[in-house]
């Protein structure tokens, strides 16, 4: 093997820096799933009757469903009775009233992750909701947001404080029967974030949720619901990490976005769940349903995701374009290294007139990683002049990895314009040699080439996140050279 191939191999031998475990006393349900468990979760959270019923409908339906097998990923059958469906730090039993009451151990966990919860630290004007295992431990800047009329709180709190909004919108984008993991989530979800932006309000700061799985043998099933009322605007960020553990852990989340007339949501994710070790042992199974519905005319939603973590990633942030002139965008970077597998992409469903969608997907495969883009562009009968542009690029590093593309296009309206471009490339010896000949170290050269490859996606991220995403790719590709 040549020297630069060696360099590549070193560089992609990444280390996971967020793999520590917080030693905190937790209250967890014993493993197992039954109607009683669903009832117990609901009781634990003092939920209203309608929500319990909704959960039970989901659970009963889930029992009739088969595990989906169509994704291009391989993993041993999951025993759903071996998972614990609820875990919360004990100190959270009654729920904190303010940050002062949050366990210092938890605050320091988030500090270690670079997510300071103390509001004094004014994280560049970003409000954070921190979800630790099954519960939300803190939401910052709540008061300031409240002044603007913005509701940003944990899902549990929203159920208590704003049951009418929950009742009106929950499950209207991703129903409790939608798919196997969405139904499971609906039955057992324990917390998550809730956002409501009232009419005509531009959210005064970025909103952010930080998800952390800590407890062993626990699944994390959170649910996020964001409603952008007419003419409103919000930018929302989501980050994720987990400790290094030998066993696989399940993360099955649901995100629902509702965008009304003239409103806009920008949703950005940097997903860095523990990916497993270099032999493919451990890591998170990230099976997520994310969907946005552009309900009103001239509404817009933009999904931007940078996926570097998880043993298996299986998610398709999608947009249903119902309103006329509505716009859906999907920008994605997915990196798979070692034995990671990702089957990710999007669905753009055009129903309204003059709707348009853009898909930019960048897949990077290294080590034995398998990276699949799977996307659907569907144009409904009434969607006059719908437009889609799709670009799927794959970058391969080394010769053991794989990149796959499955684009599906269904159109029922002849006025539609659909473009699809795809490319597969390698970081070539030529490129590396060229950079190194100019005095750029091999490590910097790889990072530069990969960042260049992802540029179209990174420029969609909010500034702070773009820096984090670049650093994350850097870490993922960094190694001891020379």
């Amino acid at each position: 093997m040549s020297a630069s191939n060696e360099n590549l191999k070193d560089m992609i031998g990444q280390e996971y820096k967020d793999g520590f475990v917080t030693d905190i006393e937790s209250e967890s349900f014993p493993p197992g799933l039954s109607e009683d468990v669903v009832r117990a979760i609901s009781a634990k959270k003092n939920e209203p009757e309608f929500l319990l019923e909704w959960r039970l409908e989901a659970y009963r339906h889930w029992l009739t469903m088969d595990h989906p097998e169509w994704a291009f990923v391989e993993f041993p059958k999951i025993d759903f009775q071996e998972i614990s469906y609820y875990s919360a730090p004990k100190s959270m039993a009654d729920g904190p009233k303010s940050l002062d009451e949050v366990d210092p151990e938890l605050i320091s966990t988030y500090n270690k992750l670079g997510i300071p919860l103390e509001e004094q630290m004014r994280l560049a004007g970003v409000a954070v909701d921190a979800v630790f295992d099954s519960v939300s431990v803190a939401t910052t800047f709540k008061d300031k947001l409240y002044e603007a009329g913005v509701i940003f709180c944990s899902f549990s709190e929203a159920v208590k404080e704003h049951p009418e909004l929950i009742k009106q919108y929950l499950g209207t984008v991703v129903s409790q029967y939608d798919n196997f993991y969405a139904a499971l989530n609906a039955a057992v979800f324990s917390d998550g974030s809730f956002v409501y932006i009232p009419k005509g309000v531009r959210c005064p700061m970025e909103l952010s949720t930080y998800f952390r799985i800590n407890a062993a043998n626990t699944g994390q099933f959170e649910r996020t619901l964001i409603i952008a009322d007419e003419g409103s605007h919000v930018s929302y960020l989501e980050g994720c990490t987990a400790p290094m553990r030998d066993e696989n852990q399940l993360h099955a989340a649901v995100v629902e976005l509702v965008i009304l007339k003239d409103a806009e949501i920008k949703y950005s994710t940097v997903q860095n769940w523990y990916p497993g070790d270099e032999n493919g042992v451990g890591g998170i199974y990230n099976f997520v349903t994310k969907r946005a519905e552009c309900r009103g005319d001239n509404s817009k939603v933009s999904w931007t995701q940078v996926e570097t973590g998880s043993a298996i990633t299986w998610k398709y942030p999608s947009v249903v374009l119902k309103g006329d002139n509505s716009i859906g965008e999907f920008y994605s970077v997915a990196l798979t290294n070692n034995y990671q597998q990702a089957d990710t992409g999007t669905k753009m469903i055009h129903y309204g007139k003059n709707t348009s969608s853009t898909i930019i997907s960048k897949g990077i495969s290294a080590g034995h990683g398998q990276n699949t883009y799977r996307g659907l562009v569907k144009i409904g009968r009434k969607a006059e002049n719908a437009r889609n542009y799709t670009q799927c690029d794959s970058l391969l590093m080394g010769d053991q990895c794989g990149a796959h593309t499955f684009p599906y296009i269904e159109t029922k309206n002849p006025s539609a314009t659909i473009e699809h471009e795809a490319s597969t490339s390698k970081i070539s010896e030529d490129q590396l040699f060229y950079c190194m000949q100019r005095g750029i170290s091999a490590e910097d050269a790889v990072s530069m080439i990969v960042n260049g490859f992802c540029k179209e996606v990174f420029k969609e991220l909010p500034m702070e996140f773009a820096v984090e995403a670049q650093a994350l790719l850097g870490i993922s590709l960094e190694g001891s050279v020379g």
Binding site: S428, F433, Y434, C435, M436, Q437, G439, S441, D444, K455
Partner: protein
Amino acid sequence: MLKIEDLHVSVEGKEILRGINLEIGKGEVHAIMGPNGSGKSTLSYILAGRDGYNITKGRVLFNGKDLLEMSVEERAWAGVFLAFQYPVEVPGVSNIYFLKAALNGIRKFNGESELDAMDFISMVKGKMKDLDMDEKFLYRAVNEGFSGGEKKRNEVLQMSVLEPALCVMDETDSGLDIDALQIVAEGVNRLRNPERSFVLITHYQRLLDYIKPDYVHVLAHGRVVKSGGPELALELEEQGYAWVDEKVAS
């Protein structure tokens, strides 16, 4: 500055260079000419440290140090620059970012601090003007979508920003029209000084009308078969390379 001694190189068992001897002094310009397949490009890659070549015999000294022991970056930091025959595209990475990373890599090695962003930009813009390059090139991805002439000009721009001690230019004249050739040659001539040496690899005499070499060497079948002054290039132009083959055959 550069001393090549009995250099033998093979690729996949086939011997490409069969005992090259060459000495290049400070401030000198040497042209290496020869027919296709004579080993010219191989020689340039060996000097820059590219993988995939098997050095079976000989050594190369650069300012007294064993060049062949150094990594690709170390050679760049020490002042070896290769202007590529086919400059490589780096999509998504802007020219300005690339130049800055390269220059700072070299400055760091030499124990110098990174250049201030403003100073850097005005320095680069000045050099672009000399090469008749539009400033918009700074913000375009490295060589992506550049015409052949633009790529070559970009190589000379990099060279003038990085200010190497030894410039190896591999067929820089190929693919250039006469105007571009003049601009590139002027750029190179501006860089000539008593401390800097050049190795110009070329197939044609044309480039040497604009960049006057001190020495001309003819490479054929992996050996230097003839060395001389600038007049040797003219001789080659008249006679072609056929006599070289005869000479090697005999």
